[in-house]
Point group: D2
Chain length 268, copies 4
């Protein structure tokens, strides 16, 4: 059994007058935040607030840049060039790093958002453009990436020497080969379902694909929706279940190692 797990959420997605979910409450309950950088979501004021909360609640900080498509929340594939992709990463992650510097926390990690992630994993050139952009902002930056079997973004990150934290996505539809289809949850999450999915992953390293087949998932972090209205309740239930099982919630960036590992039960 594993000794710890990292709970991460996409944060900083509010924009101006539009508040998504209950962000400060969520921040108290997660270990790592992927912070939107004002392209697909967020604005400078929400970025600063989010970074301040990250510091206040001891949450590690990742950049979560997206497509310049606020109207589509960065969920629509755009046919940008690799040069544009790199420029957009440097711009967004660089802006977030400035807030982190000001507030006194480190920008330690990154993950492309939504359709920008889809774009980045289309081929090695795209992957490389995005990864070079992140590295330009912080040479030691750690990538948070979905724990899928094999895909260009993960492979390129590993080939380029990035430390990678692999993520389990309890809300997504897994295919038999471990690949995922985004299943969007709006408004309210089913607490019990999420807890069951995460605990099965945490205790057994397994999840059930859409087909019904049980598959293995190796990951150190769980990506929990931070924008649904009951995200705090989901996270509290998760933390309680993890605690009962003796699994600590803490950031993978504070765990001493990033490679997926499975702790053996002492008595087993």
């Amino acid at each position: 059994m594993r000794k710890w797990i990292d709970l991460n959420s996409d944060m900083g997605e509010s924009f101006g007058n539009y508040v998504l979910g209950r962000p400060e409450e969520v921040m108290k309950l997660i270990n790592h935040a992927n912070v939107a950088c004002a392209y697909h979501a967020g604005d400078p004021t929400w970025m600063r607030r989010t970074v301040e909360w990250a510091k206040k609640y001891g949450v590690t900080l990742g950049a979560h840049p997206g497509f310049p498509d606020l109207m589509g929340f960065g969920r629509r594939l755009m046919n940008i060039t690799t040069q544009e992709a790199k420029d957009y990463v440097v711009y967004q992650a660089g802006a977030l790093k400035a807030f982190a510097d000001m507030v006194g926390v480190k920008l330690e990690a990154a993950k492309p958002h939504g359709a920008f992630w889809v774009w980045a994993q289309q081929n090695e050139d795209n992957s490389r453009a995005v990864l070079e952009g992140f590295r330009a902002v912080n040479p030691d930056i750690v990538m948070y990436l979905p724990a899928l079997p094999r895909y260009p973004l993960m492979e390129t990150a590993e080939r380029m020497g990035f430390r990678v934290v692999k993520e389990f996505y309890p809300g997504l539809a897994y295919a038999d080969d471990g690949n995922i289809t985004v299943k969007r949850t709006y408004g309210v999450e089913n607490v019990e379902e999420i807890v069951e999915l995460v605990m099965r992953f945490a205790l057994e390293g397994k999840t059930t694909a859409v087909s019904g087949k049980v598959i293995d998932v190796e990951a150190d972090s769980v990506c929990v929706h931070g924008d649904v209205i009951n995200a705090p309740e989901v996270l509290e239930a998760l933390r309680a279940a993890l605690s009962r099982a003796g699994i600590e919630a803490r950031s993978a960036l504070r765990a001493g190692e990033a490679a997926p590992r499975r702790m053996e039960r002492a008595s087993a």
Copy 2:
């Protein structure tokens, strides 16, 4: 007579398909660039190009953040809060710093753009918000500011211990008290007029106010329009006139001191 003068221009104001003037040619002829940060003008790709040119041509780098008003080119006053102002500065200047870090140059200076400058100089609170934002991005940042008699932004900058490079604006309408009204030049600049204005300032430290009165201007830098179509010709004529007068064009950031000074002629 002064031994050197700093020629600065507002740069990086092109946006996507829209190219303002002949930016690379301008960059070869100036000493310092105030680079737009994708709010009132510019985009990540033009920012990177501009920073790359600054490095290539030995031009020192300043951030030139503006209001989030691309449609108005940042020239329309917006009633933002001081907190928003600071957040917008950190966002924009932070993004530019990331490009500078990537390209291998320093982001050494700053100046708020257009109506954001007007906002910043309305009172001390506004001034302080903008200055704190710049300082958060670089604690040693130098302010480029119009050489006007007394106004909150200049006074607050000096009180907060900022190094300030004072600028002469040859294209502006000076009042008798040395204050300015923005006189926008579109398309084409009158080369002879600009050269005459700058040389009179450079040689005598004087300019003629709108009323006809001759006033003193103490400054180390001249802000030349970089977006007009004949900006390279203006700059070449300026450089030739300065050279004939034995005045070197170089960045005030490379001059060893920023305080306005008047070099005495050796034989005088």
Copy 3:
């Protein structure tokens, strides 16, 4: 006592992934909708949905254009020109009219939003620019305007021959002279307070100023926040209270007359 009252709300303010309040439920309970036109809030998809709901629930339709400032929700004064103001009105209201034409309802009314309203009422030139823009889109358009004693937008509208529906704002701070200061309500509205304010206005034509002084308010419509999360509950309580008092809720555009009037009690 009055026989009817018009309940209006600002609608169509959701944007992309960001949903404000419970818009369809609100639409069932109001008589008139001021629909955002994708500048300060809203987008084409939310505009169409909002117009479709207006048709479905028999709600009359007004354009509610704002400043091009999504990040500030149109609440920050911008120093635009009168020509720009007129152009922005024609653009936004014209786009909304196209949706109305498509869906088969009429765009019958208009009101500038937030800081754009503040701008419009600064002086007669501004008022005229905005009003000419609306009239260009529909020569018979009716203005919904706050029932304040005297101000340029109301006076200019009347001078130009516009029909005006005057609005009571239960959520605002009234000065002794009947002028208002915007008091923003976030998240949740106090149902009882709103009902009490509206019923006092509906039954007596009076409200209490911030100073404690009781003042007269002549209006035919009540502007109720449509974006708070309990807006449907507020509106249901209002409708119940009005019904108990024998006052019908219906659009002022369907009432046969627009001038403020006070119906005498039959038995009085």
Copy 4:
């Protein structure tokens, strides 16, 4: 030989401070304008100016909506839904129609811009969404479409009963089958080359594909770049050459018929 030809250009693509080419001069020389609607290019003020010039110079008016991607000038494919496409068309074309109504000209035609055209012609569903959007704004709207052999947008338009004006693109790379690849021209156009291409098309109905093969092109309109700096010179040279050949330049919307036709020489 044909008796007339329609010269059309994409217009209204300036934005705020950014002026593309010499728009008013171009407007004097063309017969039909495809006007940008403030998504991929343009803004309300440039839209109004463009419509006013269209009226002043007797140019017929088409809507030219694009993707919401100003930074990419609408040239990057975006994976939007058919519903979004229709909503974006109604919004943009509706706004333009409001300016046309105000100025007193008719919005008679339409063409999707750049990557939005590419999206629209991907399949029949996409084509239908865009066409329904245009028809919602004007039931009699005429489509300007590239004269390619067979493709969904053209076929769907004809099936839905739209009148179609077919366009020849002198600046594009034609494949042997008559299909085109966009070849962007920046800055300056080669006048002689354009005149030669257009005259060959006008006199013989032919053009040379990239492979060297001569192919037939049936069209009534020629789409000439309106944004290059020498667009007026290109158009003047074109008009002179057409005039020498006895071919009148006039809008296809004023020609009495839209179907492509080839006038036989009287003496032939």
